[in-house]
Amino acid sequence: MIRLDNVSWRRGKKESGPVLAHLSFAVPQGGFRWLLGPSGAGKSSLLSLLHLENLPTDGQMTILGKTVAQDEKRAALVRLRHRIGMVHQDYQLMPDLSVADNVALPLRLQNRPEDEIQDEVHAILKWVGLGERVDVPATRLSGGEQQRTAIARAIIHRPGLVLADEPTNALEESQACRLLDMFAELSAMGTTVIVATHNESLVRRLERPFLFLERGRLVEEGDAQA
């Protein structure tokens, strides 16, 4: 369960206006939301709040049932991050690691046993269609492969919340469809999924509730894109 009450966020101190202002919405566990809006509206910024990369400067935010205080204990934030998966717009893969080691990271950071990690990694890489690219260095992947690696890394630890920032940019049409099916499946299995995009055709393909941002404000919240 995700809930924001009158959440605002400004970058740095008071030098500029808030990037996000007075956001209030809720997403039930297992819910799917498109996060829409023009470029610069604040979609990435909102995802960074939900991923706890930044904390709200105002208002109250509840992530996976836990209300995050402004001065939350760092250890509590770490525990909460272990339950979130994030696909960044620029993938943020580790250039020095292979596909498998990149994908294994969330599990290694949670100190899972190594044999369990190997099994999970191979299974998920097969699922995203990278079963043949396990040992390839991340820097030698195509854009689409990097994106699928990032997606595999975001879901390997079975998080309760998956966030994705423009995840279909580098994907071909057929792969984008496959990805949408994947997100729908995750949501059906009880994972909350929030996907930021400005790709209208994508949204029409998977009709789900949406949040529409404009200049940092939530201007529309609807059941499906008209």
Partner: protein
């Protein structure tokens, strides 16, 4: 199980972010300096201890006109010579005191550098008496006074006065060594801090990603600190080993002053390592052995603090 913080496949690639060359070499130099300083400090301490221990117990007494009869003073027997009177007075010193009047040959040997081989029996030499008090005894404060009134002209030299001065010198040397060690530690801290800052700057994005993936502060700080501590240990060890050669040479030169007789220089060969090792003060040996660990700790601690402070910018 993987080891806690080393060799993890987490993309930090610290062997590149914190390369061996700079930190290792600089810490090695610091270790070298620290080892030499420690050796100096240990030497000063040993000398200070010896001077304060031995010298304070030694007295030298000169009796001019030693064989002249003691000027009759009250009931003194007319056949007592002045030196006999002094020796009689010294008999009252605490048990275990060694009193030794130098024999004419000993006296001649003592004076040879000044008088040459001339027959010194014609010269009016004073009698010299060496007094060695037992370790826990001290010179009675009234002794000098009593001797010079009883046997006028007697001169008492108390070596402790020299000992005091030498000990003060040794103590100030020790203080300097302490300051030098503190400076070396401070420089090592700064070097580690700079290296860590460079490492953090070059891994900024990767750390942010790791943090977002759920790496705790202690994990990231531990990874960096483990790396700098390893380099610090290696550097400290190399520096200490490098310092061993000059230290052995110094030790050889200091050997004549040491209480344990050392081998002659040409015998300083492997079969005498044992003998040589015995002459190294054990406290210095301990300090030298600890040096790599202290270097590792300084690096570890500095890096832990720096990384944790840096991470505070990420929630």
């Amino acid at each position: 199980m993987t080891r806690p913080f080393s060799g993890r496949k987490d993309g930090l690639s610290l062997s590149e972010a914190l390369p061996d060359r700079s930190l290792f070499a600089l810490v090695a130099m610091m270790g070298f300096l620290a080892a030499l300083t420690l050796a100096g400090a240990s030497g000063a301490r040993a000398l200070s201890a010896r001077w304060s221990g031995g010298a304070a117990q030694l007295l030298t007494i000169q009796v001019p006109d030693a064989n002249a009869p003691l000027a009759a003073q009250g009931g003194g027997s007319a056949t007592t010579t002045r030196v006999q009177a002094v020796l009689a007075d010294l008999a009252s010193l605490p048990d275990g005191t060694e009193v030794h009047q130098l024999t004419p040959p000993e006296l001649a040997r003592l004076l040879e550098p000044w008088l040459g081989e001339t027959d010194s029996s014609a010269l009016p030499l004073p009698a010299i008496i060496r007094v060695k008090l037992p370790p826990d005894a001290s010179v009675p404060a009234t002794l000098e006074q009593a001797l010079s009134t009883h046997v006028p002209g007697t001169i008492m030299e108390h070596n402790a006065r020299w000992g005091e001065r030498l000990r003060a010198l040794a103590n100030s040397l020790l203080a300097c060594a302490g300051l030098a060690l503190l400076s070396v530690g401070g420089i090592a801290t700064m070097i580690t801090g700079l290296a860590t800052r460079t490492g953090l700057a070059s891994r900024k994005d990767i750390i942010k990603t790791l943090h977002g993936l759920g790496a705790s502060d202690s994990y990231i700080a531990g990874r960096f600190a483990w790396r700098t501590a390893t380099l610090g240990f290696g550097g400290g060890l190399s520096g200490t080993l490098m310092a061993c050669l000059p230290l052995l040479l110094l030790l050889q030169m200091a050997a004549p002053f040491a209480s344990v007789p050392l081998t002659t220089p040409e015998r300083l060969l492997p079969q005498n390592w044992q003998a040589l090792a015995n002459t190294i003060p054990s406290d210095m040996l301990c300090a030298l052995a600890l040096l790599p660990f202290v270097a590792a700790f300084i690096c570890w601690f500095t890096t832990q603090v720096m990384v944790r402070l840096w991470l505070l910018r990420l929630p």
